[in-house]
Amino acid sequence: MSSALAAAPVLVPLLTAALTVALARRPRRQRAASLGGALILLLCCAALLHGAASGVVVTTRFGDWAAPFAIAFRIDRAAALMLTVNAVLALAVLVWPSRGSALATPFGPPLAHGLLAGACGAYAMADLFNLYVWFEVMLIAALGLIVAGRKPAQLEAGLKYLVLNLFGTIVLLGAVTGLYGLTGQLSYSALGLALAERGNDPLALLLGAMLIVALLIKAGAFPFLFWLPAAYPVLPPPVLALLTALSTKVGAYALLRILYEVFPAGAPTYAPILGWLACATMIAGVMGAVYHYDLRRILAFHSVSQMGYILLAAALGGAAGIAAALFFSIHHILVKANLYLIAGMIARRAGHYDLRRIGALARSDRALAILFALNAAALVGIPPLSGFWAKLLILREGVAQDRYVWMALALCTGGLTLLSMAKIWIEAFWKPHPAPPTAPAPAQLSGAWVSCGALSLLALAMGLMPGPLIDFLTAAAGTMAPPMPGPAP
């Protein structure tokens, strides 16, 4: 089915970005335009999701050129769902009070919509060169948001983010070019066919490995994770939530697509290596989270660790593994971005992000304590919240494939996640305040309650009724990956 709606996920954020640039001198109208654009994007994505739910793949080619020349949008179940989750999250972040963050500067909203356009483009197009272009769009918009505060620490974070991510995109472009030179194709499906004819060509395998390394850099996987904990902790909460939800998840999603649509023949070669890297990512991330005392640093290291779970599910593969990876991504986007926003609320209430300087929030702010506890429990995976189902799906598939060591490491990581979340709970909420309590800051947090509450309700719904989502994702994964032969002995 062809429909102009397929281009909407890219066009709407781009047009909104342009409009918000035009309104840069009028903050109120700019904010209204920014929120309106996010709402329209959400409606378009919901319409696409409604269409894709029946299994129809919506495609449209710019200029109606023939297949290898046109820029093709292709939206199937998985893409439509990820786009919708993205749009929900963008709207929630934009509703969150932006005062004092990069989003409140004149060029904050355009950059946020630029970042959104990049992420949506990467989800909506099934073409390697466009993947590169959209990663670059995301990178420049993210850098703008990171350095917008102009503090030395933020400039430094921006440089670290730039250097490692730019290296990743250079490797990506090299691999894409090599594959083009080898096959003359760029779209995922045509490349998949052309590479299937070549079988296990060592050159194709090498280029595939380059591509996977580039995406692992983007996803913040071990041993390429160092840009993430360097950049995230110095950012204001809305920017952090936006980056964590949009950037690394796109890398993991593209990895899924490329592993199982472009390299189905090479996947059995890559999967074990990817699995061990995923385990190292989980452990390295959670170790950092256990050590640190700054809320933002703890959460940033958690982001790394949780990417490990998504990559582990991707390494397991098959329809069940892909469905688990997508389920975990959605859970992570909703819960993790929400936790960053809640950390922002904690800091505005208590005055600091460092757990050693705050305390006694459970007494002074019960509702915030409940909100945090709910999301922390969802992240750890306490049944029946969303994290429990996400980890259960991975565990079930891992045991079915006899990957007991990986699963043991995943369970250990879960235990350490619980430990670090309990640390936040005890230090920020339970222990008495280390300094004589000053008057609580008169923070305007009503917008924050709306967006954090809505995200929590979504995550809660996902935990209480996981069935429909799992069915949907299993159907989505079934069309993404050809049925795999049994696991290699």
Binding site: P68, F69, F129, Y132, V133, E136, L139, I140, L143, V147, K151, P152, A153, Q154, L155, E156, A157, G158, L159, K160, L162, V163, L166, F167, I170, L173, G174, T177, G178, Y180, G181, L186, P229, A230, A231, P233, V234, Y291, H292, Y293, D294, R296, R297, Y353, D354
Partner: protein, 128 residues
């Protein structure tokens, strides 16, 4: 012959880029990444196959090109990649200079504000 010359130049430029990118000087890192990007751009250009061919233009009235023509796709790709690469080179150098203006050094090892080192007793450092 031209293939070997092209391969050699890609290798030399990429090696120079990697060498600069692994130095400690922030501006050199940015320039090195720009060079590495330039090497990959040459590679993109070469992916369309080198050699003599007519430009990919279609005569009026004809349904397609009459003789073998140069592949236009890598040329379109490389133009995109050059523009993007130039943007990042400018941004990276500007960022490195802004950092150098802040603490009068442009040394990668001196970047400790976003990731404060542990305190003497081993507990994690405090962020600003």
């Amino acid at each position: 012959m031209i293939e070997w010359a092209m391969a050699a130049s890609v290798t030399v430029v990429a090696a120079a880029g990697l060498y600069l990118a692994s130095s400690r000087d922030l501006v050199a890192i940015s320039v090195g990444l720009a060079l590495l990007g330039a090497a990959v751009n040459l590679f993109v250009f070469a992916a369309g196959r080198l050699g003599q061919a007519t430009p990919p233009l279609i005569a009026p009235g004809a349904a397609g090109p009459l003789a073998a023509v140069a592949n236009p796709v890598p040329q379109a790709l490389v133009l995109t990649a050059i523009v993007i690469g130039f943007t990042f080179a400018c941004f990276g150098i500007a960022l490195a200079l802004a950092l150098a203006a802040h603490d009068r050094r442009a040394d990668a090892d001196a970047l400790e504000q976003a990731e404060p080192p542990p305190q003497p007793d081993g507990s994690p450092g405090e962020l600003p």
